[in-house]
C-alpha cells in the first residue's frame, strides 16, 4: 500500500471546487444520514426490530386465536375482544421496542466510544445544530420503518384473529392506534438517544433505557395502590403506549394523546438536559 504513495509531494492537494456559499441544516442532516446508514449496526438493529415485532405479533395472535375459549382464557379473551388493535400492536412492540432503544443509544454513544464525535464537532462546531440534525434524521428513519412495521403487524394480526375478533382500520380509533405505534417508537428512539447523550457510554446507556422502559413500571406496581397507580400512569413507557391502544380502559387516568404528551414531555426533558451537557462538556 505504501508503495503506491508518492514520496514527494507531487501529492499537491488538488484545488477544491468553488465554495457553496451557504451551508445549511440540510447539509448537516445529509451528513447525519450518511453516518447512520453507513454502519452495519443500524441495518442489523432495524432488521432485528422487524423480525421481532412482526414475529411476536404473529406468534401471540396465533396462540390467542388457537386457544380461544380455552381453560382460564375468559379474561384474556375479553381484553382482546375489547381492544383488539391494542393487543395486536402490543404483542410485538413490547419486545420490538427494545431494539429501537438500543439503536437510539448506539447512534450517539458510538460517536463517543470511537472518537468520531470530535470529527463531527469539528465539522459542525455548533453542537446543537449537529444534535438537532441527528435527532431529526433518526426520528424520520424510525417513523418510516416503524409505521411500515406497525401496519404490517396490524394486517397480519387482524388476519390471524379474524375468525374470533374482526377489526379493521376504519373502526373507531384503530387508524390512530396504528399510526400512534410508529410515533411512539420514534419518540422512544429519541428518548434513548437523549439518555445516550447524557451517559455517553453504550452499555450503561442501554441498561438505563431498558430500566426506564421495563423496570420502572414493575417497581411502581409494587407501590401502595392509590398513588402507585398515579405514578405508574405517568411513567414514560406506560403513558406513551396508550397511543397505540384504541380503547379507554376503566380507571385509565390519561387519554391516548394525553399519555403521548406526557411521554413526549419526558423525552423533551431528557433531550434538553443532554443538549445542555453537550454544550457544556468537553468533547
Amino acid at each position: 500500500m505504501t508503495t503506491t504513495t508518492p514520496a514527494a509531494p507531487a501529492a499537491t492537494p488538488p484545488a477544491v471546487p468553488a465554495p457553496i456559499h451557504h451551508v445549511g441544516f440540510g447539509h448537516t442532516m445529509l451528513a447525519e444520514w450518511t453516518k447512520i446508514r453507513s454502519v452495519r449496526s443500524t441495518v442489523w438493529t432495524l432488521l432485528l426490530f422487524l423480525i421481532i415485532t412482526i414475529g411476536f405479533t404473529a406468534l401471540f395472535t396465533w396462540l390467542t386465536e388457537s386457544h380461544w375459549t380455552g381453560p382460564n382464557a375468559a379474561a384474556r379473551d375479553a381484553t382482546v375482544a375489547a381492544n383488539p388493535v391494542g393487543f395486536i400492536l402490543g404483542a410485538g412492540i413490547g419486545l420490538g421496542q427494545l431494539t429501537i432503544c438500543v439503536l437510539g443509544v448506539l447512534v450517539i454513544t458510538t460517536e463517543y466510544s470511537t472518537g468520531v464525535i470530535r470529527s463531527s464537532l469539528l465539522a459542525v462546531p455548533k453542537r446543537l445544530t449537529m444534535l438537532a440534525a441527528k435527532v431529526a434524521v433518526f426520528a424520520i428513519l424510525i417513523v418510516i420503518v416503524a409505521e411500515i412495521v406497525a401496519f404490517a403487524c396490524f394486517f397480519l394480526g387482524s388476519a390471524i384473529l379474524h375468525s374470533k375478533v374482526a377489526v379493521t382500520l376504519s373502526d373507531q380509533n384503530v387508524l390512530r392506534a396504528v399510526l400512534g405505534a410508529g410515533l411512539y417508537l420514534a419518540v422512544l428512539g429519541i428518548l434513548a438517544l437523549a439518555v445516550g447523550l447524557l451517559i455517553r457510554h453504550t452499555a450503561a446507556g442501554i441498561t438505563t433505557v431498558i430500566g426506564i422502559v421495563l423496570v420502572l413500571p414493575i417497581l411502581s406496581g409494587l407501590l401502595p395502590s392509590s398513588w402507585g397507580a398515579h405514578i405508574n400512569a405517568y411513567l414514560p413507557e406506560q403513558a406513551g403506549s396508550l397511543v397505540y391502544s384504541a380503547h379507554h380502559t376503566s380507571g385509565q387516568l390519561l387519554s391516548a394523546w394525553q399519555g403521548f404528551g406526557v411521554f413526549c414531555l419526558w423525552t423533551a426533558v431528557l433531550l434538553v438536559a443532554g443538549a445542555y451537557l453537550l454544550q457544556r462538556r468537553d468533547a
Binding site: M1, T2, T4, T5, P6, A7, A8, P9, A11, T12, P13, P14, A15, V16, P17, P19, I20, H22, V23, H27, T28, L30, A31, E32, T34, K35, S38, V39, R40, S41, T110, E111, T114, G115, V116, R118, S119, L121, L122, A123, V124, P125, K126, R280, D282, A283
Partner: protein, 346 residues
C-alpha cells in the same frame, strides 16, 4: 494565523495548560514541542473548540473556531489516529464530513488519491493499520483544502516512507502560504520539519524561536579527551583559558576530561607541547535531542529527574533550571520574554 492568549485548562485539580500564549504564523511549519503530558493535545483541542478553557482565548484568523461558517474549509485537523467508527469505511467517513461542508463527492476521491488510499477506501476502517488510519486522518484534514492545519503527532505509526511523505507534504503546504501547526515529542523530527518552534512543558511556554536559533542556542560544543595524566592536562588547558572537567571513571575508563572553550586541535597541540600522552581526543556536538531533554527535564510530566536525563553531566543543571524559572515568571504576560530563554548561559 493561530493566536492563543492566556489559555488555561484544568481537569479537576490538574492543570494541563497554564496561561499559554503564542502565535502560529502562516507560510511556515511551526513545531509544537513538549514531552508527553506537556499539554500539546489539550492546547490543540482548546484551539479547535472541543474543550472549553477556564480562561483565555484561541482564535484562527481572528475568529473563534465555533464561529467559522465552514470550519473544515478554514482549518484542517488531525487529532488522534483512527478516530473512526471501525464499521464505517474511510470513504463514508470522509463523505459525511464533506457533506457537512457542502463539498462534492469528487473531493472525497481527490483526498483519497492524495493519501494513496483509494483502493482500500471502501473497506471498513476496523481492519486498517495505524499507518493507514493516520493517512485517513490526513485526508480528513485536507478535505476542505484549508489554509490552517493542526496536526497532532502526525508521524505516529507511519513507516519511514510515510514519515518522509508527511514531512514533504507539510513543507509544501507551508510554502503555499498555509499555516502549519504540528506537534511532536521528538526534537529530531521537528528539527528537520519545522521552521519555527514552540516548546512547552507542564502546560507552560518554555521557548519560542526559529528552529535555527533553537539549534544554535542549544548546540553545546565540547571536546572529550582521555589521558593517563589527566590532572596535568587539565592544568595546562586551564592555564590556556579552557575549562576541563573530569568525567566519571565508568565512562569508558579513567582519565576522561570534558573540555569547553577550546577546540580539539588546540588541546592536541597543548598535549604535544608538554609531552602528555593522549588515549582519546574527540570533538563533540551535543545533539539537539540532548539539548531539548535538558530544556524540558524540569517540566517533564512523568517523573524522570534532571540528573538522569542529562547526558552531559553538570552542564545540565543550569540549563535545565533556568528556563523553567523564566517561564514561570513570565506566565501570562508576554511570550517574547520566554523566547529568549534556553541555553543563553552557554
Amino acid at each position: 494565523m493561530i493566536e492563543a492568549r492566556d489559555l488555561t485548562k484544568r481537569y479537576g485539580d490538574k492543570t494541563a495548560v497554564d496561561h499559554l500564549s503564542f502565535n502560529v504564523e502562516p507560510g511556515r511549519v511551526t513545531g509544537f514541542l513538549g514531552p508527553n503530558g506537556a499539554g500539546k493535545s489539550t492546547t490543540m483541542r482548546l484551539i479547535l473548540g472541543l474543550d472549553r478553557p477556564q480562561s483565555g482565548t484561541a482564535t484562527i484568523d481572528g475568529r473563534k473556531y465555533a464561529d467559522l461558517p465552514q470550519p473544515l474549509r478554514t482549518v484542517g485537523a488531525l487529532l488522534e489516529a483512527k478516530a473512526m467508527h471501525p464499521g464505517r469505511s474511510a470513504y463514508n467517513h470522509l463523505l459525511f464530513l464533506a457533506q457537512t461542508q457542502g463539498l462534492p463527492r469528487s473531493r472525497v476521491d481527490q483526498v483519497l488519491d492524495l493519501v494513496g488510499l483509494r483502493e482500500v477506501a471502501r473497506k471498513r476502517t476496523g481492519g486498517y493499520s495505524l499507518g493507514m488510519g493516520q493517512r485517513v486522518g490526513i485526508a480528513v484534514a485536507m478535505l476542505g483544502d484549508p489554509q490552517v492545519l493542526l496536526l497532532d503527532e502526525p508521524v505516529n505509526g507511519l513507516d519511514p516512507e510515510g514519515i518522509l511523505w508527511i514531512r514533504n507534504l507539510m513543507k509544501h503546504l507551508a510554502s503555499e502560504g498555509r499555516t502549519i501547526f504540528v506537534s511532536s515529542h521528538l526534537m529530531n523530527e521537528m528539527a528537520v520539519t519545522a521552521d519555527h518552534l514552540i516548546v512547552i512543558g507542564r502546560g507552560k511556554l518554555i521557548a519560542e524561536s526559529t528552529t535555527q536559533e533553537f539549534i544554535e542556542r542549544s548546540s553545546d560544543k565540547y571536546v572529550l579527551v582521555r589521558s593517563p595524566d589527566a590532572a596535568r592536562l587539565a592544568g595546562l588547558i586551564g592555564a590556556e583559558g579552557g575549562k576541563a572537567e573530569p568525567q566519571p571513571a565508568d565512562n569508558g575508563g579513567p582519565g576522561l576530561l570534558r573540555v569547553t572553550g577550546m577546540d580539539a586541535a588546540r588541546v592536541g597541540e597543548l598535549a604535544a607541547a608538554d609531552r602528555v600522552v593522549l588515549h582519546e581526543l574527540t570533538p563533540r556536538l551535543a545533539s539537539l535531542e540532548e539539548a531539548y531533554m535538558e530544556l524540558t527535564a524540569d517540566s517533564s510530566e512523568y517523573g524522570v529527574t534532571a540528573g538522569q536525563t542529562a547526558p552531559t553531566g553538570d552542564g545540565a543543571a543550569p540549563a535545565g533550571t533556568e528556563p523553567a524559572a523564566t517561564a514561570s515568571s513570565s506566565t501570562g504576560s508576554s511570550t517574547t520574554a520566554s523566547s529568549s530563554t534556553g541555553q543563553d548561559s552557554q
